[in-house]
């Protein structure tokens, strides 16, 4: 078994299971082809636990989630016909937040006040 076959068995480079070309037409990488759950925006606080429990948490699913998110964002803000700054500003803000988060331990040393009421 070659490395490629192994990766393919793990699901890399493969179409997702729910996708059927005859029904769904051309493949859209931004779309989830499984059974849709309630959108996060409509979930009640008390339903949040079960909702989170229903998520797939294996690495392939998480990778697919991130891929879908990237494609959805890209199709909405970057690939539009006329240009706009929103996507790039979001990218800047996102990068800032990311690096702020990973460097937070360092920044925390720069606090000016010892006590907060």
């Amino acid at each position: 078994m070659s490395v490629y076959d192994l990766l393919a068995k793990m699901g890399m480079g493969q179409l997702p299971e729910g996708y059927n070309k005859k029904i769904h037409g051309p493949y859209n990488p931004a779309r989830y082809y499984g059974k849709p759950d309630i959108p996060l925006g409509q979930v009640k606080i008390k339903e949040l636990g079960p909702w989170l429990a229903r998520r797939n948490k294996d690495p392939v699913s998480i990778a697919r989630l991130m891929s879908r998110g990237y494609h959805r964002w890209s199709q909405k803000y970057i690939l539009a016909r006329t240009g706009g700054l929103a996507g790039y500003t979001q990218l800047l803000v996102g990068i800032s937040l990311f690096f702020y988060t990973i460097n937070y331990c360092k920044y925390a040393n720069h606090r000016n006040y010892k006590y907060h009421w």
């Binding site: 078994m1 076959d5 493969q14 006329t82 706009g84 700054l85 937070y104 920044y107 907060h116």
Partner: protein
């Protein structure tokens, strides 16, 4: 016609790619490492299995998604509206930031101020050069769009022209029907002429033979007649003796005398 030709000529190529992709799979039971090309086709889109209502084709948006404050998506604000009204998201944002700053969860160290300065400079840059840059970029996009649109419209034009030519040719072919009829009639006339000619030839041949036969009969009869006459004359001559001659001459003289007396 052209399109059909193009389709026919492109089909073997597509199937080749398909088979190549399938041939790539190896024997490990993995169906396909490189997915076969999913060319969108009109036929597949119109098949009864296709669910175009829930899974429509992706359409490229003309404008990017709407944002407020440069980067916060409009949808986040819409999410607040049913519960909090239009000021809700701003109050929430301001409150959150106040909380973060107040408790120094969001630490304002030197890089934070550097970031603020960058943001200010970028904002000024956008305000100064933004509109011009936007027009230039949009013009570039438009140019590219027009390029492909022209390619498409030119191709459509050419194909429509060829369809028109084809229809014209069909119309001309219909006009040929008259000519075909005339030619057919011509051929019929020629056939009739040849038939009559041959009939004439047959008639002549038969007539010649009959004429020959008649002539033969005539000649035979004439010869027979001639021969008979000769024979009879010779026999008669042979039978005439001098006495008989003398007697006949006397008889003749007598007859003449009788005639003379009567006259």
């Amino acid at each position: 016609m052209l399109s059909r030709f193009a389709l026919n000529s492109s089909l073997p190529r597509v199937t080749c790619i398909r088979t190549c992709a399938v041939a790539n799979t190896g024997d490990s039971g993995v169906e396909r490492l490189i997915p076969a090309p999913t060319y969108p086709s009109k036929k597949a889109e119109q098949s009864p299995e296709r669910d175009t209502k829930n899974f429509p084709r992706v359409k490229r948006p003309d404008e990017p998604g709407k944002c407020r404050l440069f980067f916060i998506p409009e949808e986040y604000f819409q999410f607040f509206y049913p519960k909090t009204g239009v000021t809700g998201p701003y109050v929430f944002g301001a409150g959150l930031m106040t909380y973060l700053f107040s408790k120094e969860i969001m630490v304002c160290e030197h890089e934070y101020y550097a970031g603020l300065t960058f943001a200010l400079v970028i904002y000024m840059g956008i305000k100064l050069a933004g509109p011009e840059l936007q027009t230039a970029i949009n013009n570039g996009v438009k140019e590219e769009d027009d390029k492909y649109r022209n390619l498409k419209s030119n191709a459509v034009e050419v194909l429509e022209e060829s369809i028109k030519d084809e229809k014209h040719a069909q119309w001309q072919a219909q006009g040929q029907k008259l000519l075909f009829d005339a030619k057919r009639e011509n051929v019929a006339v020629q056939l009739e002429a040849a038939f009559r000619e041959r009939q004439m030839a047959v008639y002549r041949a038969v007539k010649n033979r009959l004429d020959y036969k008649l002539e033969m009969d005539n000649v035979t009869r004439r010869f027979q007649h001639h021969h008979m006459v000769n024979w009879i004359v010779s026999q008669v001559r042979k039978s005439i003796t001098p006495e008989l001659e003398k007697k006949s001459i006397n008889q003749s003289i007598q007859d003449l005398k009788n005639l003379a007396a009567r006259v």
